[in-house]
């Protein structure tokens, strides 16, 4: 079971969170067209390894977090708030 260290609430069980996709994709601008939105919404890196992903701490502080997690070992190396670039947080 994942234990995700929420930067606001501390380590919490996976059951309090929900996953919401790859956090490395950026929504294209309004004029970027179908191909760009196709890339944003559908195409996935889907790595076998480290991935930065969105998780919402829905049952806790409701924040959307960026989580650096390994998709094989499930190790979580870093968690950041939505606006931070993902680096290992201090606390």
């Amino acid at each position: 079971m994942l234990r995700i260290p929420c930067p606001h609430c501390g380590p919490r069980d996976e059951a309090e969170f929900s996953y919401r996709g790859d956090a490395t994709v950026t929504r294209p601008g309004p004029e970027d067209g179908i191909e760009a939105f196709h890339g944003y919404l559908y195409e996935r890196r889907n790595p076998r390894g480290w991935q930065v992903e969105w998780w919402q701490h829905g049952a806790g502080c409701r924040a959307f977090l960026k989580v650096l997690r390994h998709t094989v070992t499930h190790e979580i190396r870093a968690v950041a708030t939505a606006t931070e670039a993902l680096e290992v947080p201090e606390a």
Partner: protein, 981 residues
């Protein structure tokens, strides 16, 4: 005399008390502290079951969770538990157990003829036959196989007992309370760390329970642990799985040792344990040796026989032989001799060893350099045959009623392996031990191959201390360790003695060494293939005693080292666990919480029939005595709305407060239509798309202030919409200054609809001019309703003049009653979900069955709502050709040509006289009140063009085909005159 094999003294049973129990209907006695197995042995019961495939007689093989044979149906009636290991069942008064998997009696099982068919029932035989004639599989062959397979019988009755879940946190979790675990817990506890010590047995001690001389150390350790406030000992608690990031699952058997759970006590409790550091001290399982007849009742693991003697005070045999490959097993012979048994022979393939010498000194007949080549007897062992190790053919016969065997020990690496650690081969122990940890975990004692109680305890103490330090605690003084010599557990690598007859590697699933070789011959040489092809190690014991033996036979067949062949992957559960325990208490009526509006009691009092809407309970309708049936109630309620006035609880709609300087901009981006132009005091119907251009949700959103909006969502999508808004604010437009608050629970909602709605509202609401000019359709204002603060909306789902009053939820019942009173002169009636559905279908309003995640705004006739300028979620991808394709099914209305013939949602629409291909389907259907008969909404290819034409509503599932006319979806008041009246 009862219990003829009970020793006069010794062990951990309470001889001052007697416990009576039955096995296969016969009554026996045992003592508290016994397991069912020890009590059966004390009474001389040897034959306890029949094997899976060949129905061979089977006895008690072990003294613990690894038991492959002695599986019984425990208890009866609704509490019957099939496949229960007699070796771990604590005896209680009145216990009833029945042997299983037999046809006829246990002593004479006619399915034992399968043994004669064995040459044709080898591994995987069923894959190669039963193919012709094709139709015979389901009818003949499979039922035969299914009946023959399986082990015990389930009761088929609901389990009367209760289960609980619970959560725990600790600095150090120690699994197993043998010498290693006790020492680990003491050492960790001494640092002040929070420690949990989980032990599956009722008695902590592990192998210490077999060592009377070390009892003082055990009791002292337990007393010391009990004195540490931050140490929790959990007996009868099996740690069943090691999951990611230091989370382990455990099941505590709270009341299994009792006839039934006392009041307010669960049968079992499942624990989710989060540990900073984990010490695994799970001991080891003794392994069998494969030789012909190694499954006969009377053949038993040496450690088990020793445990029956020392821990339970039971002599498992009178005339005993030992077949062992290492010195560690010899203590069993001494233990049985102490217990008064005769040691008939010790058979050991090795030429000599210190233990052999001691055995000779003790006067035992040691047959060095020899092996057991066969067993003799029927349903009980009468003797064994020996021969020289490496030889062949038949050898001497020795009479014996108990053969103790030990091929060495398998460290219980299950949890370490589950935690991600690779396993490493230990050549000396001929066993796999845990490799470097992948999580914050360390193994200690026999589970990593450290044998001998003194050594194991020292290992445990070191591990416990290291774990506590790793968890951030300062080292504490050393603890006292037991002083005990270490026996040598390094076995001679003898896995199999070949000969005539079946040599089992998996006693439970009747897998023989020959089966493994057959699998190899057929190419199933990978350990995982061999396992699956033969079902080796797939039984309830998961190969604890014989798994590695099968792997060794395979390794020999492959000509490769066992280290390379490896073991099948370890998985949860370390021992099978009760379904109820895993489920916890959130079952049945509490499987999911039931959400109720603040008007629940009001509806209850009004006699509502309930229906589920997601997790909500909502009134479906309110039957009256005079209503002939449910439809009569629904039509009556709908008619009240169309003709007079009705009242309805709409509290379940999602409500979100959207506030902030950028609130309007934000709403413009998340809605497909515009909100920034909405004046304060007005509401607007809004449509949200998903990013893929499909309709996500709809609802009315009101502007309460320049920067404040009151957003409503459908009941079903309230949660997803909130998450959708939060996600986009956090990740896509973090620059927007907007805050979101869920206010679904704060505000209850009451709709009042019908030509008389204004009169009713006037009787409830104060402080507002309700005239059509002052408070037109889509107006919103704060007001007082029946003396409480409220917010009035003039919106309509039914197509009538209608209002919704929102008020703080605690006042909803009060306002409802006031509205009922004000409406009484106008004939007000409450209406439920069914009438609500009827009304909106007549009006052509879409709801969940149309907004089903597959439809676009155009499909629903709402294409005009999409704004032409500016970005919004879903705008770009909604333009993909497949979504703008004019041939997509469009929303239409439908009317059954014969008003008496029902049409249903889920019917497909066919062209009369066409090829039977589906042109669309009905999404919602109802009877109409404005124009009696059956009507519906549907999605129909070329829908608009087909208005006025006839189609067939086909429901082949129910054998119905009803002619319908395609009409406009807006069946009632298409000009919206009534809502604006």
């Amino acid at each position: 005399m009862s219990q003829p094999h009970r020793l006069a003294a010794g062990g951990h049973v309470d001889r001052t008390r007697r416990v009576s129990f039955t096995f296969d209907g016969r009554r026996y006695e045992g003592h508290p502290g016994d397991t069912l197995a020890s009590a059966l042995l004390a009474n001389g019961v040897r034959l306890v079951g029949r094997s899976f495939k060949y129905h061979r007689p089977r006895g008690i093989f072990s003294a613990g969770v690894e038991e492959p044979n002695a599986l019984v149906e425990l208890r009866d009636g609704a509490r019957r538990e099939p496949n229960t290991r007699a070796t771990v069942v604590e005896l209680f008064d009145g216990l009833a157990a029945t042997s299983q998997n037999r046809r006829g009696s246990l002593a004479f099982d006619w399915m034992a003829v399968n043994g004669l068919l064995a040459p044709w029932l080898g591994a995987g035989f069923y894959y190669k036959t039963f193919m012709w004639p094709a139709a015979y599989w389901e009818r003949v062959y499979e039922p035969l196989i299914r009946k023959a397979a399986g082990l015990g019988r389930a009761s088929g009755l609901p389990d009367p007992d209760r289960y609980e879940a619970a959560h725990a946190h600790c600095d150090v979790l120690v699994v197993g309370a043998g010498a290693a675990g006790l020492a680990a817990a003491r050492a960790a506890g001494a640092t002040g760390a929070r420690v949990i010590l989980a032990e599956q047995d009722a008695l902590p001690g592990g192998d210490l329970l077999n060592e009377p001389g070390l009892e003082p150390w055990r009791t002292e350790a337990l007393a010391a642990l009990a004195a540490m406030p931050e140490v929790t000992i959990m007996p009868r608690t099996t740690v069943f799985g090691f999951y990611d990031q230091g989370v382990l699952g455990a099941v505590e058997r709270v009341a299994d040792h009792l006839p039934e759970p006392p009041p307010h006590t669960p049968r079992q409790r499942s624990w989710t344990i989060r540990a900073r550091e984990v010490v695994l001290a799970t001991g080891a399982h003794e392994r069998l040796i494969a030789f012909p007849g190694n499954d006969r009742p009377g053949v038993m693991l040496a450690g088990a026989a020793r445990s029956y003697a020392r821990r339970f005070g039971v002599r498992a045999g009178e005339n005993v032989a030992l077949f062992a490959t290492h010195d560690g097993a010899y203590d069993a012979a001494f233990a049985l001799a102490e217990a008064g048994a005769r040691i008939a022979a010790i058979i050991d393939p090795r030429p000599d060893s210190p233990a052999m010498q001691r055995a000779r000194e003790a006067g035992f007949a040691v047959r060095a350099g020899s092996v057991v080549s066969a067993t003799v007897g029927g349903t009980a062992l009468r003797g064994i045959e020996l021969r020289a190790a490496g030889g062949s053919g038949r050898g001497d016969a020795v009479a014996a009623d108990l053969l103790m065997i030990s091929g060495g020990w398998n460290p219980a690496v299950h949890l370490a392996s589950m935690s991600g650690a690779a396993l490493a081969w230990d050549e000396g122990l001929q066993a796999f031990v845990p490799g470097p940890p992948a999580q914050r975990e360390r193994s200690a004692g026999a589970c990593r191959g450290v044998h001998g109680i003194g050594a194991a305890a020292a290992d445990g103490a070191a591990a416990g201390r290291a774990a506590a330090i790793a968890a951030g605690f300062a080292a504490a003084p050393d603890i006292a360790l037991p002083d005990a010599p270490a026996p040598d557990h390094r076995p001679h690598p003898l896995w199999e003695v070949r000969g005539r007859g079946k040599a089992f590697v998996d006693i439970q699933d009747d897998v023989t060494a020959d089966d493994i070789r057959l699998a190899h011959r057929e190419g199933f040489s990978h350990i995982e293939h061999a396992k699956r092809y033969t079902t080796h190690a797939m039984g309830t014991d998961q190969g604890k005693t014989g798994g590695i033996v099968g792997a060794a036979v395979l390794a020999e067949a492959r000509g490769e080292p066992l280290a390379k062949v490896g073991l099948p992957r370890f998985r949860p559960y370390t021992s099978p666990i009760a379904w109820g325990a895993m489920a916890g208490e959130g079952v049945g009526a509490h499987f999911q919480p039931t959400r109720r509006t603040s008007l629940h009691a009001v509806h209850e009092a009004a006699g509502a029939v309930w229906m589920d809407a997601g997790i909500w309970k909502r009134p479906a309708y309110y039957p009256k005595r005079e209503d002939a049936d449910a439809w009569a109630s629904v039509l009556r309620e709908a008619r009240a709305v169309r003709e007079r006035v009705g009242i309805c609880d709409v509290s379940t709609l999602g409500k979100i407060a959207v506030e902030g300087p950028d609130a309007a901009i934000f709403l413009d981006r998340v809605y497909a239509n515009t909100f920034s132009t909405l004046p304060v005091g007005r509401a607007r119907y809004g449509l949200m798309l998903r990013e893929d251009g499909i309709v996500f949700d709809d609802g009315t959103t009101s502007r309460i202030g320049p920067d404040r909006f009151f957003v409503t969502t459908t009941t079903a999508q309230a949660g997803p919409v909130m998450q959708h808004l939060e996600f986009h604010l956090a990740s896509v437009w973090p620059e927007l200054d907007v805050s979101l608050a869920s206010i679904t629970d704060q505000w209850a909602g009451i709709a009042i609809a019908g030509p008389k709605a204004r009169e009713v509202i006037a009787g409830v609401v104060s402080g507002l001019d309700l005239s059509n000019e002052a408070f037109p359709f889509m107006a919103v204002a704060d007001c007082m309703a029946a003396g409480v603060p409220a917010r009035l909306f003039r919106i309509s789902f039914s197509g009538e003049l209608a209002y919704e009053i929102a008020m703080p939820a605690g006042y909803a019942a009060h306002v409802w009653q006031a509205a009922m009173a004000a409406g009484a002169p106008h004939g007000i009636e409450p209406y439920g979900m069914e009438a609500l559905g009827l009304l909106r279908i007549e009006k052509g309003h879409v709801a969940g069955s149309e907004l089903n995640g597959q439809t676009t705004a155009q499909d629903l006739g709402l294409g005009r709502m999409l704004k032409k300028k500016g970005d919004f979620i879903g705008r770009v991808l909604a333009q993909r050709p497949g979504l703008t394709d004019p041939s997509r099914p469009r929303l239409v209305g439908l009317r059954s040509l014969d008003p008496r013939r029902q049409i249903r949602a889920g019917c497909h629409l066919l062209l009369p006289g066409g090829d039977g291909s589906s042109q669309g389907w009905i999404t919602s259907a109802t009877q109409s009140v404005v124009d009696p008969g059956w009507i519906g909404l549907g999605l129909l290819r070329d829908g608009e063009a087909r208005i006025g034409s006839e189609m067939l509503a086909a429901n082949p599932l129910m054998g119905e085909e009803v002619p319908v006319k395609v009409i406009s979806p807006h069946m009632h008041d298409p000009e919206n005159l009534r809502v604006r009246a």
